[in-house]
Symmetry: C2
Subunit: 364 residues, 2 copies
C-alpha cells in the first residue's frame, strides 16, 4: 500500500493506493471516520461490479450501509439527478454523522461529493475512484459539482474528502479508451512538475498499457503526490493551482465544440497539450526535442495528438471557444506553457496568429 497525504491543515487527508484493497475500505472508515451510517453512491455499471464488495467490507466492521445508484454517464451531473440523490439520502436516514462513499469515476465523485458538501451543510465523504482519470486526478483536490446546460461544472463547491481510497484492481474492468484517457492527466503531471516522472512514463509504457499492478500503483501515487502538492499550496485555485490546467485551455474548447462526444476529456487534453507545447516553443523556448517527446509519449499510450477525429473544427472556431471559457479573465487568454519538461509558466498570450498557427499544426 502506498500513502500520499494532502496537507490542508485541519482538512488534511490521506490517499491510500493498493491492489485488491476494496475489501478493506470498511476497516479504514471505522478507523478514520467512524460514521453512523454510510451511503455507497455509484452509477449502475460500477455498482454491479463493485458495490457488493464495499457493502460487505462495511458490514464486516459493523457499519450500517445502503447503496444508492444513478444512471451512468455525464448526463447524471444535473440538478435533477442531484435532487434525486438528496431525496434518497433522506429516505435512507443519512444524518450529520453519516458518510458518503463516492464509488466510481469522475462523474460519481463530482456528483456524490457535491451532495456531501451541501447535505445538512456538509457531511463526510470518501472518494473510492475506480477509473484511472479519477485515481490520478479528479478524486484529489476537493473540486465537486454538477453541470449546467450552458457550462460544465458551473454549480459546485470546493469540499475535501476525508479519505481517498484507490483499489488499482478496479482498473481491470476499465474500458481501454477510458484507461488511455486517464493517462493524459498523468503525463500532464510529469510535464508541469516532474521530469523524472515523465521519463518513468516513457520508460514503462508497455507495463502501463498492460496495467501492471506495481507500475500503476507507483504511477497513481506519483500523480496524486504532484496534485496534492499543488492543491496543498492553493486549495481554491487563487493562482498556482492553475498550472493543473496545462492542455485544458484548448482541451475544453475542443470538448465543447464536439459536444463532449468527439473527444473524451483526456483525449481533448492530450491534443490541448500538443497545442500548448507549440505555443510554448515560440513563447518560452520549449525545445523541439521535448515537444517531440511529449507527442511521442501521448501516442504511445494511444492518445490522439491531432484533430483527426474532428476535421471540421477550424482554428478560428477553437480560438473563439477558448475566449468564452469560464477561465478567461479580462478578455485575454492565459495558457499554462512548459519551459521545459518538469517546469511551466502561466502566460497571457495576445498573439492570435500564433495561437491559430499552433492549432493548425494539429488540424486535419
Amino acid at each position: 500500500m502506498r500513502k500520499v497525504t494532502v496537507e490542508l491543515g485541519d482538512r488534511a487527508y490521506d490517499i491510500l493506493i493498493d491492489h485488491h484493497s476494496l475489501s478493506k475500505i470498511g476497516l479504514e472508515l471505522s478507523k478514520r471516520v467512524q460514521p453512523s451510517q454510510v451511503a455507497v453512491v455509484s452509477d449502475e455499471t460500477v455498482a454491479a461490479l463493485y458495490s457488493e464488495q464495499v457493502l460487505r467490507s462495511l458490514d464486516k466492521v459493523g457499519i450500517k450501509a445502503t447503496r444508492i445508484t444513478f444512471p451512468a454517464g455525464e448526463k447524471s451531473k444535473s440538478l435533477v439527478e442531484y435532487g434525486r440523490l438528496i431525496d434518497r439520502m433522506i429516505e435512507r436516514g443519512i444524518d450529520r454523522k453519516s458518510a458518503v462513499i463516492a464509488l466510481g469515476g469522475g462523474v460519481t465523485g463530482d456528483l456524490a461529493g457535491f451532495a456531501s458538501a451541501c447535505y445538512m451543510r456538509g457531511i463526510s465523504y470518501v472518494q473510492a475512484p475506480t477509473s484511472l482519470l479519477a485515481m490520478v486526478d479528479s478524486s484529489v483536490g476537493g473540486k465537486t459539482g454538477i453541470d449546467h446546460p450552458l457550462a460544465k461544472n458551473l454549480i459546485g463547491a470546493f469540499y475535501q474528502p476525508r479519505l481517498v481510497f484507490a483499489d488499482t484492481a478496479t482498473l481491470d474492468t476499465l474500458p481501454a479508451v477510458e484507461f488511455h484517457s486517464g493517462m493524459a492527466e498523468a503525463i500532464k503531471h510529469g510535464v508541469i512538475r516532474d521530469s523524472g516522472y515523465f521519463s518513468f512514463i516513457e520508460n514503462n509504457r508497455e507495463a502501463i498499457l498492460n496495467r501492471d499492478p506495481e507500475v500503476m500503483e507507483y504511477l497513481i501515487a506519483k500523480s496524486c503526490q504532484i496534485k496534492a502538492e499543488v492543491v496543498g499550496a492553493d486549495e481554491r485555485e487563487a493562482g498556482f493551482r492553475a498550472i493543473l490546467n496545462f492542455g485544458h485551455t484548448a482541451g475544453h474548447a475542443i470538448e465543447a465544440l464536439t459536444n463532449y462526444k468527439g473527444y473524451r476529456h483526456g483525449e481533448a487534453v492530450s491534443v490541448g497539450m500538443v497545442i500548448a507545447s507549440q505555443i510554448a516553443r515560440e513563447v518560452c523556448g520549449f525545445s523541439k526535442e521535448e515537444t517531440a517527446r511529449l507527442r511521442d509519449v501521448l501516442n504511445q499510450v494511444k492518445l490522439p495528438t491531432t484533430l483527426a477525429a474532428a476535421p471540421e473544427l477550424s482554428a478560428e472556431s477553437i480560438l473563439k471557444a477558448m475566449y468564452s471559457d469560464k477561465k478567461t479573465e479580462g478578455g485575454t487568454l492565459r495558457f499554462v506553457l512548459p519551459v521545459r519538461i518538469g517546469e511551466t509558466q502561466i502566460v497571457q498570450v495576445t498573439d492570435e496568429a500564433l495561437i491559430k498557427s499552433a492549432i493548425e499544426s494539429v488540424s486535419y
Copy 2:
C-alpha cells in the same frame, strides 16, 4: 454608522449598520469587493421597494448591475427556484469576478447566499438585510441553504459574505408581525450572552416598538456583535455555536407541527425560549424571577409565550417532533438552557416527564 467585524481570519468581514445608507452600498462595494458586475437578488416585494436605490447606487460608482427577482415567501427556498436563479445569473453574464447582493430578508439571504456559494464554486456575495430577523441574525454567520420537502435548510453551505450592509430605514416598511418576530432573536442574544443587553431591551421597549432609528441601530449592532463572537469562535457549529439554538429545540418542533403557518420563526422561538426556561428552572436553577422577566419582555414586544395559536398541539406531539429534528444526536435531546440571564449551558435532557411538563406550562 456602526461597524461590527466578524473575525474569521482570511474570511473576516464587516457588518455596517446605518440609517438611510442603501444609497451608499455602491461605494462600499467599489472599495471592498471591486466586482466586475453585480446581480441584485431580491423577492418581488422587496425589489419593488428598494432595488432601484441599490441599482442607482451601483451605477453611480460605475458598477454594472442587473436585477434578479423571485416570488416572495419561504416556498422559493426550493431546488427549482435555486436552478432558476442560477439560470438567470448565467443569462446575465455573471462570472467569477462578479458579486451577488442578497437584498431582503432571511429567505433571500439563504437562497442568494447558497447560489453564490456554488456558482462557479463560489463567488462574492453581500448581505443587504431588510428585515429585523435578517439584520440581527440570519445575515451574519454564513449559513446559506434551501429547503427540502422533508426538512428545512437541508441543502446548503457554510459560506461567508464579503460584507453585511444593513440600512435600518428599510425597517419602516416591515410588517409589524415580522418586526416582532425579529425581536425574538435579539432577546435570545441577551439571554445567552449579555444581561446588560437584555436590560437594554427591557428598558427601551417603547422606543423599540416605535422603531426609533438610534435605538434600533444600537440593538442591531449589539446582536450582530454577539452573533459575530459566537460564529468567530465556532464557524461550522462544531460545538459552541449551538448556544444560538436557545429556544430553537422546541421552536423548530412547533414550527414544523403547524406546517410553518401557525407561528412565524421568531414566534415559535419565543414560545421555545419559555419552554426552555421552564426546563432550566429544574435543571440549572434558573430563577423564577428571571423566568418571569423573560416572559414579560417577550410579551412587551408582542411575541407569543404560549401555544394559544395552536391549542391542538399536545406535549407528546411536540416531544416527538423534537426527537426527529436534525439536531438530535444519538437519540438524546440537547437543550440550550439559561443558568441566569446572560449565561447558558448545553444540557442533554433525558427526563421526558420534565420536558412534557415544561411544554404543558405553555399549552392551552
